[in-house]
């Protein structure tokens, strides 16, 4: 995970409650979230997915928006999906790696 600025820290924490639908690992620990920016009452999320063919994109984006809109000061959430740098297992947090190991999934 990149170093986060204090004014977006709470949103990173909030997104730790949004789980990947296929594994009980947050989108943050999966390394899907590349950047969070706050601009007034808008939050801009830059994120990726583990595969171009991810079947859960709309689901995950909807969960992210729903969670961030629970924050009183947030009125709009914009999601920008990028594919560069491509996601690899190196993006998993140590916590995410441990959870995958627990579920018997290789993360090497």
């Amino acid at each position: 995970m990149e170093k986060v600025s204090t004014d977006t820290q709470k949103y990173w924490e909030a997104l730790k409650e949004v789980m990947d639908p296929e594994f009980p690992i947050s989108v943050v620990d999966m390394g899907l979230i590349y950047d969070i920016k706050k601009n007034g009452d808008e939050i801009d999320i830059t994120m990726t997915y583990t595969a171009v063919s991810c079947a859960c994109m709309e689901w995950i984006e909807s969960d992210i928006k729903k969670r961030l809109l629970e924050e009183e000061e947030v009125k709009t959430v914009n999601i920008n999906v990028v594919w560069d740098p491509p996601w690899t297992v190196d993006r998993l947090s140590p916590e995410g790696r441990e959870k995958l190991k627990y579920w018997g999934v290789s993360a090497r």
Partner: protein
């Protein structure tokens, strides 16, 4: 229509041709792949089908963006009619492998060339797709080698299938390579050598059609 619009139009057509072929490869990988020669091949084919369909979705959505379509993207219910005949007509494992290998190899050559484009957002769109596609090519190439050295009528049939689709793929690459609008608008590098790279990649299969291509 301005030169720039013509360039975008050509680029959209290029992306749609790739998307259509990936859409059809995904469809064929499911239809034919479920009765693959063994369980591993079948599982891999179905997994790759999801991959190809995902690549198609990404490229169609990119086309929508280039056309200035805002908001939620339309659901894709079929290809736009640009898929190669040799892909649409895939009807067994042998023709599936021939199509998967040649078409994805050609697409890979084109997409790699677009990474040298002067348009900054190209890499952010396709970097992951290119990485995933490499796995599909490795898989198809290894199956191609296996079929080529198989017994009975299989090597002959595989060669026929390969010859059947190579002309079409090669002709498409030649058309793309000669499209000046793509080069002048910076979507492809100047004097790009797509056909040369394709021949080089398929050299080891040394098919009759490839040998005779000028």
């Amino acid at each position: 229509m301005s030169e720039m619009q013509l360039g975008v139009h050509s680029f959209i057509e290029l992306l749609e041709t790739i998307a259509d072929n990936k859409y059809m490869l995904g469809d064929r990988l499911v239809e034919i792949g479920v009765s693959g020669p063994n369980l591993e091949a079948t599982l891999a084919a179905v997994a790759m089908a999801q991959g190809e369909l995902g690549h198609a979705r990404l490229l169609y959505n990119w086309c929508f963006d280039l056309r200035g379509v805002k908001g939620k993207k339309a659901e894709i219910r079929g290809q736009t009619g640009k898929a190669f005949r040799g892909v649409v007509n895939v009807h067994n494992w042998i023709s599936l492998i021939a199509a998967l290998y040649t078409v994805n190899t050609a697409i890979h050559i084109v997409l790699q060339s677009t990474l040298e484009s002067s348009h900054s957002k190209v890499a952010s769109r396709i970097q992951k797709l290119i990485r995933e596609q490499k796995d599909h090519i490795i898989y198809a190439k290894n199956w191609a080698k296996q079929l080529r050295h198989d017994q009975g009528a299989v090597p002959h049939r595989f060669r026929e299938s390969l010859n059947g689709i190579i002309d079409e793929v090669y002709a498409w690459l030649a058309k793309v390579e000669q499209n000046q609008k793509l080069q002048t608008e910076g979507y492809l590098p100047k004097n790009v050598k797509l056909t040369e790279k394709f021949k080089e990649q398929l050299k080891e299969f040394n098919t009759e059609h490839l040998v005779h291509m000028k």
